[in-house]
Amino acid sequence: MLGRRTIVRLSLVVAYVLIAVLCVTSLFNDNEAKAEYGDVVINNYSDAAGMRPVVFPHWFHRIRFRCKVCHADLGFKFKAGGNDINMLKIFDGQFCGRCHNNSIAWGVENCVLCHSGVPNMKTRVHNSTSDRLVAPVAK
C-alpha cells in the first residue's frame, strides 16, 4: 500500500520534472532571435570576476535620454565593450555611475539589475542586422 503510494508520488515528481524540463528547453530554443534589438552585453571583466555579464538595454534608456546624453555629454564610445568600464569607475561616478547614483536612477548596490546576463556571453550588441545575415558581406 505505502509502496504504491510512493510510486504515485514518484511518478508525480517525474511528471513535474518533465514539465520543468520542457518549459526550460522551450525557453532556450532559438535564443538569439529573441534578444531585444540594441541590447548590449558587456563582459570584459564580469565572468572572470564571477559576476554575470552586464546587459545594457538601449530601448529602455532611449525612452528617457537621447543618444547625445550618453554618447556626447557622457562620452560613451559607439562600441560594445569599447569603454573599459569597471566597478571602481562606476562607483566613482563615471559611465553608468553618472546616473546610477540613487539620484537620477537607483544606485550601484543593486548588482543584479545590471549583472543579469547568461554567464559566458560575449561582449556585443544583440540582434543586429549583421547577426541576422545568412551570408557574409562581400566588398
Binding site: 549583472h115 546576463g117 554567464p119
Partner: protein, 230 residues
C-alpha cells in the same frame, strides 16, 4: 475503502499527466523536427534564421538575461513599455521618430539640464545611388533630434557633401550609416526609409538603355524602357 478509491484516482491522474506529457513532448519534438523529418537537405528556409521571431520577448525569455538571476524578473518588459507606441516592422518594432515627434516620449537632450531643447539642423543631403534603387535621403533634422554633430563629424563622416564613400557593404559591416543603423537605430532591412527618393522615369530609362540587355535584345529602346506599353 474510501481512501483506496482516492488512491486509485490519484494514480490514474498521475498516469494521465505522464501520458499527456509524452504527447506534448512528441508534438513539440515533431514541431521542431518537422523540417528534418522529411529530408534535411531539401527543406524550405534552409538558411533563413528563425522565421518566427518572438518580438519584444520578456527579459526572462529573451536568451540574454539569465532567468536564474534574482533581478531579471524586476526588469521591465519591452512590450509593456511599448504599448502606446507607433509600430514599425523590425528592430524594436517601434517607430522612434514618430513617437518622439508626437511627444509620446520626451527624452533629455542634455545631461546637465532636463529642459534644454535640441539644436536642430535643417540640411538634407541626397546621395545619388548607383543603379535602380531610389536615391538615399539623409535628413540632418531627424538626426539632430537625437544626436550631436560630434557623434558623426568628423569621425564617421567628413562634413562635405559627396566627400564620403558610402556603400551597402560598408553599412552592413557596421561602418558609416551602419554604425547606428542595424544596431540601435532602425535596421538595414528597412531599405525604403533611407532609399526614399525614387529615380525619375528618365533616369530609369537611361539606365536600361546603357544595359547589356538593351544591347543584346532586338527590341527598340523605347520598348525596353516600358516593356508593357505596346
Amino acid at each position: 475503502m474510501k481512501s483506496r478509491i482516492q488512491f486509485h484516482l490519484v494514480h490514474v491522474m498521475a498516469l494521465c499527466a505522464v501520458l499527456g506529457l509524452l504527447v506534448v513532448g512528441a508534438i513539440s519534438l515533431a514541431g521542431t523536427g518537422l523540417a528534418q523529418s522529411k529530408s534535411p537537405a531539401n527543406t524550405f528556409n534552409r538558411l533563413l534564421k528563425s522565421p518566427t521571431t518572438a518580438k519584444n520577448a520578456p527579459p526572462a525569455e529573451d536568451g540574454v538575461h539569465d532567468p536564474q538571476n534574482p533581478g531579471t524578473t524586476m526588469l521591465q518588459w519591452p512590450s509593456e513599455a511599448f504599448t502606446e507606441f507607433d509600430k514599425s516592422s523590425d528592430g524594436n518594432q517601434v517607430d522612434w521618430m514618430s513617437i518622439l515627434r508626437a511627444g509620446k516620449i520626451s527624452p533629455w537632450f542634455e545631461f546637465e539640464s532636463q529642459t534644454t531643447e535640441p539644436f536642430l539642423f535643417d540640411l538634407v543631403i541626397v546621395r545619388e545611388v548607383k543603379g535602380s534603387m531610389p536615391n538615399v535621403v539623409f535628413p540632418h533634422e531627424a538626426h539632430t533630434q537625437w544626436l550631436d554633430c560630434s557623434n558623426c563629424h568628423d569621425e564617421i563622416f567628413i562634413p562635405e557633401k559627396g566627400a564620403n564613400q558610402i556603400s551597402m557593404a560598408a553599412i552592413l559591416l557596421g561602418q558609416k550609416c551602419g554604425v547606428c543603423h542595424g544596431r540601435v537605430a532602425f535596421p538595414v532591412t528597412d531599405c525604403r526609409r533611407c532609399h526614399a527618393q525614387p529615380k525619375t522615369p528618365e533616369e530609369l530609362r537611361a539606365l536600361a538603355e546603357k544595359s547589356n540587355w538593351a544591347k543584346t535584345s532586338n527590341t527598340s529602346t523605347d520598348q525596353t524602357a516600358a516593356p508593357d506599353k505596346k
